[in-house]
Symmetry: D2
Subunit: 255 residues, 4 copies
């Protein structure tokens, strides 16, 4: 399990959400309250869009709470759209290659959840990655494999459908192997223009997902970063939203 | 605050105490139960005596819970006397130079506690380090400075007295500066032959300290590593013990 | 390209060969003289056999020349059989998962060389890894993939034949894809009892390989670690040797 | 010895100078040509000014040549004034705290050179750091100590004079201790508005220093980053320059 945050709106310093709030993502790296694991100290990452098409990215294997570089970068980088993630590893190594957000071209992707019995399924899911993207597979997580597989399923044209097709294919494999542990997929991704976020699981326990309108834009999180609990709306299980700078978010079904 | 463990007795693999027990030091790195901070993820270290006079040492800035090297070293190094420490930083940086156990010649030292208002006192305590040891000052912690200062006070001949003299000198400085936050010193050190451990604070809250006879030797810990709570004896505030392979530990007063 | 060293014989401290000699492996991490790249600063690893069947391992992403832990471990670990490696990455990331020696059960493996056009071949070579070993694939190097594939080809019973079968299969794939860049394989592996070392390339430029009898045992290296050049015998291209503690090494052909 | 680069002018991406040129600073981290040591792999750092008064900073202990974060940050951060440094340690540990550029308030500082017999002088130079800055002393290098001492000598009002006073004081200490190894100080610093750079040594071997007008601004370097050798002007021994965005640099004597 992990904790993540996505923002789009007026350009703000990353620290506004990542470092400063009382229950900021950095605070959640040590004391998450709605996660299975309170400690999310197995690496972290931030990704942001500047004036280039592809996003910048900084990720590291240390806990977010003690990294001076993260503080400095968040204090000096201002962005209209950024992602941040703190990781709690579920069986795969702590390495930069396993840190979210994952990046491919102009896309970023973050995942909170897991593929049940991943060691048995890994090969099957990696087989869904198209050849031309296979050298972009640098780590061993289920998350990165799902992302690359979705790119192969047309993520650039129909990202919601692409992830759905991948998840359906994984469920088919799970059934074929009689794997009963769940597939959970609370995730968010962006093309640098829109942010999608979905909350889904094959059982009835998809990891939490919230959103709110902040002073300057829209925020999507695993759990609220401030104490204004009534401002945060949960995304229901099987739900999703898509947002864009300056427009109201649209809700959709995801299953 | 931190968690530590010291062992002397029949040579055993480090993993026997550091990794394997239900509440092992590695487990305590994520879930300490008697510490102010449950997470001790700001680096770690192990030191052990082999056939050489000076101990070996492995320390790293990552959390102990995810370090494959630590697991491997603990599974392959067998020692009659070893120290292990997981750190929760209290204001100084996460760096190897700030990881315990500290080493000087044949000595190792670990500390759990803190010097109140350290930024104001640092210079005073560093001034207690003798010239010939000053280049051994590689980090910025109060712990390392106290250790080096004690070496200057005759730690090699009278280690208990040396630490007492240093702590008294620090209290004098604290009084002179009107510093009211406490000086806490639960610590353990060794010359490779004997282990000393003390529990003391200028207020009534010295960090916890326990010891027990295990199957093969004596174990000193911040908090018990197994579930046999009745086998562990607390060291009282203002108390200390000194142990040696094959002999019963002796208790003493420390103030 | 990389530099490596393997030893079997009387138990000696690792430092005897890894740190102390004038052209030790640590020295070669900064100033290799027979390698394409003089700097081998992309991580390192040591593996050693103690009283357990499986070897211990310490690897890190920093350059070997500045790692205090490596010095300390090499000064305190004594072994009858150990491997050490300093890495110069050829296209894959600097990560622990990509550091040699690779370990599987009681085996260790180190490689100096490369598979031409690896990004195109990676998927093919990974397909040679048997299902039950696939979760042991933690990195992205050609070296680890070859090792795991060889395990699938019977490395435990016939290690020389197993590697030959894998290399032949890779060459077949290279031909099928019209890949003309070479396949180079100077490598060494061990089961904890015997050390094998081979020098081979599909072109006429296999990386160098030497061996000598030292004071206490047999040493196999990428390039000599001391200045007694006349004591070191090159392994010829297409050649290999197998050694065991206390016995004369045997030479064989490898192609 | 180390290699560094400073820029002021039109806002450009850091990569323009740090990553892209044929002999960029990243290239110099592995293959410096005018340094005593060709390898500058003991950590690195970049500092840049954005819209805030204080600069941002990213430094790491890995070699610059393999750090994906450095590449990404340099590709996405655009600045009108930035510093970059690759380190070759001369006796002190490889740690973030020892990486340049050092930062204090709105100032950045980088040094190439060394204080002869530093272990004996360290205490004397640290004594020059004023109390209120002492807690900013996080590492053990001569460079950081000189910088903090200069802050105590009025760096904010008269930075050239402040460094001169510190260097003179150090030379006095060296004479008093009969230290004959040289004091070398090729350095650059900035307040976020102007860049100063000086080249000086107590012997006749001050490390090299060059500057040129580039397409968009002024560049100061340890050694040229491109092949247009005739565009680069050496700063003479005992010389210095001060530059500001949009103005011609002024030369001065420094001794």
């Amino acid at each position: 399990m992990c904790r993540f945050l996505a923002y789009c709106g007026e350009p703000v310093f990353l620290e506004t959400l990542v470092c400063t709030p009382c229950h900021s993502l950095i605070e959640q790296s040590m004391h998450a309250t709605e996660a299975k694991t309170g400690t999310n100290g197995d690496g972290f990452g931030v990704g942001w869009y500047s004036e280039r098409t592809e996003p910048g990215r900084y990720c590291e294997i240390r806990p977010a709470w003690s990294d001076e570089n993260l503080q400095s970068i968040c204090s000096h980088v201002r962005s209209r759209l950024f992602f941040a993630h703190v990781r709690a590893a579920t069986g795969t190594a702590v390495s930069r290659a396993n840190c979210h957000p994952f990046k491919a071209g102009r896309f970023l992707f973050m995942h909170n959840g897991q593929v049940g019995d991943w060691p048995r399924l890994r090969r099957k899911v990696e087989a869904m990655i198209p050849d031309e993207l296979y050298s972009a597979r640098t780590g061993t997580t289920d998350s990165e494999a799902i992302f690359l597989a979705a790119l192969g399923q047309g993520l650039e044209r129909d990202s919601v459908g692409a992830f759905q097709r991948v998840l359906h294919a994984i469920r088919d494999e799970m059934r074929a192997l009689d794997i009963t542990s769940p597939l959970r997929f609370t995730a968010t991704w962006t093309d640098g223009d829109r942010i999608w976020a979905v909350r889904w699981a094959s059982d009835d326990k998809p990891p939490s997902l919230y959103w709110r309108r902040g002073d300057n834009g829209l925020i999507v999180v695993s759990e609220p970063v401030d104490s204004q609990r009534d401002q945060w709306r949960p995304v229901p299980p099987g739900g999703g939203l898509v947002a864009r700078v300056g427009a109201a978010p649209e809700m959709f079904r995801f299953h």
